[in-house]
Symmetry: C2
DNA sequence: TTGTAGGCGTTATCAG
DNA sequence: CTGATAACGCCTACAA
């Protein structure tokens, strides 16, 4: 059986193809009764518009580009993050009859801007989703904006100008984690920072400082080490911290990979977790529950964030097609992360002070 | 500047659009000199054919579907596997000017067959790539075959009929791992099996048995436990094994997640790895290097496998378009995995016998 | 509220 | 070997 076309539907419904088109695209000016007629025909023929024909004739491609930093460039499990984002994005795309084009790229690539512009123009993307650390790349954002393509930003460090974004409560939740550690009696709480290009991580650092302040603890620079998000850097920072004369009794790393590095070093040095050292991370990667001891961390609803991002993007596309009216002011949705208390944190030894 | 079309190229080259089309599609019957002319014009105009127009006019969609079991349905890091497959697939797609449609699905879904058939017909996929455990789903494969869409199978358990596939040396390499453990002096080597729907895992089990035989060890049913690939099942199996009166001195799990579970249980029971127990896995997930002690395991070049799979698929598409000649007999490419010896395995204690 | 004509950029057909 | 011309399925304008 041949695939039904708009003509078949029109014939069956006894209307013109334009009317069918109107119904399909939810354009106004269709009598309700005829709309019903058309919908019935559509269903009966199991009709679905041909995307190629649509994008050829119309302005839209029904293609959304999902840009992310290529996880396979590193030896780390951020793959998990990406897959969740993909999942969320796909769900919305499917329900809205769009396709998703995944595009891993190297955020350090010098030609990134032109690479992406060429992608957008050749693939005729209707819209673009940016994930960290791409979402913090001002120049890339500007380049994309110039093409007129709607963009939604996931978890940028700062509200990016008039660009809609999904933001998080990174700062607040990190303050909370720090306060939690303080409440366990820890006085020397160390922090491991992350990739400087990922601005949202700075918010975590600020949150750590807030937490100290709120708990009446003083900020000690020697307890802050700079990592780069990798497991290895977590190990290195942990060694530096734990070799100090009066080492920290708790270490809060701004992602789970580095926290894992801390745990590993503690194992090697024969330091017991959580009796002698508490460790906390951020992300709640699967590993967090598999490692021993399981890792206290912070979970972000990544999938939901992606869904919201695509929701906003779809809105933009709609308002854009309806009328070239100014974009509905940069929306911004704040997503809330939560603490996951597990085995790697516990009371500070009273004599450790 | 407007995007160049085939007309622009034709005009610049001073030929008809059909000739340009011939060059683009590498059809025969074009004089070499005119071909050069056309290519020059193409380059000068930075011309790229419009995919929508192509798929509308032609038979092809330039879309490849990548089907996989939705990793986000579970709490496990198989995301890593998927991302690597995606990466490999994307690379080939880009170089061949195809697009990749990722399609996570639940392999247990009762309507999977019709879901996929509808996907293929509506998205007009040119070809499909199947990953485990989908690659072992005979009925799904039959359903797809019926649509006439070329399929390439990644890591099926058995050579699937006349269907091209990328296979692995799972059996051989697992025999090797077992022999390695035996060479360390282990007499009681346990094995944890995996998801029954993933047939390639059976090959691992057979390899284990081969390895025992080759090492002159006798197969003991009580040392084999059935897991389901999950971390949790690894823990459960480990407990059963380690509570036996004469427990194994080595445990070989057929994936890393379960091996991780074993390590965790050993930690909890105060069993030292590798002094009192050796543990080995399969996959070499990132976690394998982050856990303490780091995990001895087996690494498969997943990305390469995906690349090869797409290579075969592209060949199929080409031969299909050239001439509806019978598919070039089911190709089968065997990929070789390798042992990664790390800290979790060591000599058996001599008194443990 | 509905319908008609024309074109989007390619490929396929069939002459030259 | 090369080139007109008709599809492909839909959307945008413009009529009715």
């Amino acid at each position: 059986m041949r695939k039904a076309t708009i003509d078949d539907v029109a014939a069956l419904a006894g209307v013109s193809i334009k009317t069918v088109s109107r119904v399909i695209n939810k354009e106004p000016n269709v009598r309700e009764s005829t709309e019903k007629l058309v919908r019935k025909a559509v269903k009966k023929l199991n009709y679905r518009p041909n995307p190629s024909a649509r994008s050829l004739a119309g302005k839209r491609s029904f293609l959304i580009g999902l840009l992310y930093d290529d996880p396979s460039l590193y030896e780390n499990p951020s793959a998990n993050y990406i897959v969740n984002v993909q999942q969320g994005a796909l769900r919305v795309c499917q329900s809205e009859n769009h396709d998703l084009l995944i595009y891993p790229c190297n955020y350090k690539n010098r030609n990134l801007n032109s690479e992406i512009r060429s992608l957008i123009s050749h693939s005729r993307l209707d819209g673009v989703i940016l994930t960290p650390p791409l979402s913090d790349n001002k120049s890339l954002i500007a380049a994309i904006k110039k093409t007129g393509t709607p963009v939604v930003n996931i978890a940028p460090g700062e509200t990016t100008d008039p660009l809609p974004a999904i933001t998080t409560n990174d700062r607040e939740i990190c303050a909370k984690m720090t306060e939690y550690l303080a409440s366990l009696g820890h006085k020397r709480i160390a922090f491991i920072t992350g990739n400087r290009d990922h601005k949202a991580l700075e918010k975590r650092y600020l949150g750590y400082q807030d937490g100290l302040k709120n708990s009446g603890l003083k900020f000690m620079p020697r307890l802050v080490k700079e990592g780069d998000n990798s497991f290895g850097s977590g190990e290195a920072c942990a060694r530096e911290l734990l070799q100090q004369r009066t080492p920290p009794t708790a270490i809060f790393a701004c992602n789970d990979d580095m926290a894992t590095g801390v745990i590993r070093v503690a194992h090697q040095m024969g330091i017991h977790i959580p009796n002698e050292l508490s460790v906390a991370g951020f992300d709640d990667i699967p590993l967090a529950q598999q490692i021993y001891p399981s890792l206290t961390t912070i979970r972000q609803p990544v999938r939901t964030m992606a869904e919201k991002a695509l929701g906003i993007l779809m809105d933009q596309l709609r308002s854009k097609s309806v009328k070239d009216k100014p974009q509905t002011s940069a929306e911004e949705l704040k997503i809330v992360a939560e603490l996951k208390i597990r085995e790697s944190t516990g009371p500070a030894k009273s004599n450790a002070q």
